[in-house]
């Protein structure tokens, strides 16, 4: 990334030497994991560019938007309704949380036995490494686990913070609670932006976000093909970039990429030979640059054909019904859509078990790799339940518990390779 951004980063109060170091590591990591792949699609160059400029050009765009009076809202979770942010003309972005940055700093605010994702977003802030966090006029948290819930109390002292209460069951009274939270969010966003959310604007925002979901759905369907037309690493990257990039530009670029993938499928081409073991990756979300496990899997003679994750199908599977005309109708459809999310924070959450099995069958996956972040209670519990369910359905599965560090890479390789050997 060019020197020309240094001034901007300095204004954002980043720790410049540490940030330079981070970008260097990230660049090398990206090169090793992504640029080394054989037979990548041309359309991936767009993603390479977006990622290389993720702390540069994209941040400049955010600053330009702010200069024009627009607000920037950051979030960590697919529960925060982006439609409402966009309807108030705000920019909505995901925040940094996929690397072991500022861990020691974070441990001053949260216990050591906290998942890597939480430590990371706090660490990025405390070590002054995330230009997204520093660009935000509001950061929206949510009560999807106890770790995050408590961490936002500490985080809220450092940033302008709003926490939405996500219910943990899906009864009528929970829906009422969630609707009240969505309405509260709308009021807060209007207050922040000074804009009134009209039916017309919300309708357009619903369409924008649905279009992005639709193009990602299309991408997921194309991955049913054997040979796999795109690597799991690239598909994960697309899903990750979807949280940062401008939604309209992103949708157009991924649409072009999908056209290329269709041609590849027609020509019978793929990133791995036909018959390569196909795996579904399932579980905790993977923010940039959390590529360790996908890289281990795809260096072990398997190809990832789907991500059952918040950075994957959980974010894209359900659309907001577009038939609503009044604000009230649209709020109802937004509330309904978000309550379909099968996050492990819900009890019971049997729909997730059904969904994982269904996705595995649709994508003709030979097995499922369950990814759980260490100390993530909700997904840790569900890993046991899901393992049993998949065993009943004769779908082989492997449960992995890890974090963002590299100390267990060799053990992970052995496990994943042994799992792949079992499937051959």
């Amino acid at each position: 990334m060019s020197q020309s951004y240094h001034e901007m980063w300095e204004k954002l109060n980043l720790d410049l030497p540490a940030h330079d170091g981070l970008l260097q590591v990230l660049g090398k990591f990206y090169g090793d994991i992504y640029m080394s792949q054989q037979g990548r699609l041309q359309g991936m160059e767009y993603l390479d560019f977006v990622l290389s400029e993720v702390h540069g050009l994209r941040i400049k765009e955010l600053q330009d938007a702010k200069a024009q009076g627009r607000k920037v809202i950051g979030s960590f979770c697919v529960f925060v309704p982006e439609e409402i942010s966009l309807a108030a003309d705000a920019v909505h972005v995901g925040l940094c949380s996929g690397a072991d940055a500022g861990k020691e700093e974070a441990e001053k605010l949260v216990p050591r036995n906290t998942c890597a994702l939480i430590k990371s977003f706090i660490g990025f802030k405390m070590a002054k490494l995330c230009p997204f966090t520093e660009s935000c006029d509001l950061i929206v948290g949510e009560t999807t686990c106890d770790g995050k819930k408590k961490a936002y109390e500490a985080f809220g002292e450092l940033v302008p913070m709003l926490v939405m209460e996500v219910p943990q069951q899906k009864r009528a009274c929970d829906r009422e609670l969630w609707k009240a939270e969505v309405l509260r969010y709308m009021v807060e966003v209007e207050k922040l932006t000074g804009k009134t959310i009209t039916a017309e604007k919300l309708k357009a925002a619903i369409k924008t976000v649905n279009d992005r979901r639709r193009v990602l759905q299309r991408l997921n369907r194309l991955r049913e093909a054997d040979p796999a037309p795109i690597s799991g690493r690239d598909a994960l990257l697309i899903n990750q970039v979807g949280f940062y990039d401008d939604p309209v530009r992103f949708t157009a670029s991924i649409s072009t990429l999908c056209d290329q993938i269709e041609e590849r499928i027609k020509a019978g081409q793929g990133v791995a030979p036909k018959g390569t073991p196909r795996l579904l990756l399932s579980g905790c979300p993977m923010a940039v640059p959390n590529w360790k496990l996908p890289y281990v899997i795809e260096s072990s003679g398997a190809v990832i054909v789907g991500e059952e994750s918040c950075i994957g199908t959980r974010n894209t599977r359900d659309l907001v019904d577009e038939s609503g005309e009044t604000l009230e109708e649209m709020i109802e459809t937004i509330v309904d859509r978000y309550l379909k999310i099968d996050c492990a924070c819900f009890t019971p959450n049997t729909e997730r078990m059904d969904n994982v099995a269904a996705i595995a069958r649709e994508l003709k996956a030979d097995g499922v790799v369950q990814y759980t972040l260490m100390f993530c209670q909700p997904y840790g519990h569900e890993a046991i339940k899901l393992g049993n369910r998949l065993e009943k359905e004769s779908i082989p599965s492997l449960a992995i518990e890890t974090d963002y560090s590299m100390e267990d890479v060799e053990q992970l390789k052995t496990r994943v390779e042994a799992f792949v050997e079992m499937l051959k």
Partner: protein
């Protein structure tokens, strides 16, 4: 001649087969120069094909490629142990492999394929490293430590799963005046308890074959027998099973 090499954290084993029979075996400590050890193990052998396993499996491939040696394929220890055990005990349904840095429990299908496996996490609890560490504390060689522990008459409870904390616990027990043999027995029992949990998770079915370097420890074998209620099958050279499996893999490819 077709070879299997198992590069473990503590030792490297070599098994060579020709016309369906084992014709040569060798073993060396891994040391901090595994590359040199691999080279000296294969030096002068007319190898046509090599299959490497163990945590240093890719190092074998790199080293022999540099030396313009025979082609190398790699398989995991899990597959290698399944193949080796299948050859030595065709009726086996469960494999316990305790090596230097990893413990593995593997369940096999009736025809010898891997059905399910469990492996310890990034920690040395319950592995050969654990025994090596505590034997050092007792100032007894690792080879004699099992026989020493068998002199105990009461296995004292060691609660900690962590190698370093287990040592702290052992030190506390010594300070309380307990017989060191009983403390050593307790340390062995803590490994076996952990191992039994792992076997339970893969679905323990008899007969169980106990392989890997720690199967040479008579105390662990005795305690595993007691916990299982019957003796596990321990191969003559339990630490060679991985290399044998690798050689067998190379023979059928």
């Amino acid at each position: 001649m077709i070879a299997g090499i198992d590069v473990g954290s503590r030792s490297i084993e070599l098994v060579c087969r020709r016309d369906g029979a084992v014709v040569h075996t060798a073993r060396r400590p891994t040391t901090f120069d595994p590359r040199g050890q691999i080279r000296s193990l294969v030096a002068g052998l007319p190898l046509e094909r090599v299959t490497a396993t163990g945590y240093g499996r890719t190092l074998v491939a790199q080293t022999l490629a540099e030396d313009n040696g025979p082609p190398v394929e790699t398989i995991t220890e899990i597959k290698a142990y399944a193949l080796g055990v299948r050859d030595l005990s065709p009726e086996a349904r469960t494999v316990l492999d305790i090596g230097g840095q990893d413990t593995k429990a593997i369940s096999l299908t009736g025809d010898g394929r891997v059905l399910k496996f469990e492996m310890n996490d990034r920690c040395a609890a319950g592995t050969g490293k654990f025994l090596e560490h505590v034997a050092n504390v007792f100032q007894i060689s690792i080879e004699e430590f099992g026989a020493y522990a068998l002199q105990g008459d009461e296995a004292l409870t060691i609660n900690s799963m962590c190698t370093v904390f287990a040592e702290t616990e052992a030190t506390s027990l010594m300070a309380q005046g307990h017989r060191p043999e009983n403390i050593a027995l307790g340390l062995h029992a803590s490994i076996v308890k952990r191992t039994m949990n792992m076997l339970g998770r893969v679905g323990l079915t008899h007969p169980v074959v106990f392989a890997g370097g720690v199967a040479r420890n008579p105390c662990v074998v005795e305690l595993v027998s007691r916990a299982l209620g019957r003796e596990p099958v321990v191969p003559d050279n339990p630490d060679m099973v991985g290399a044998l499996g690798a050689a067998l893999y190379g023979s059928v490819q």
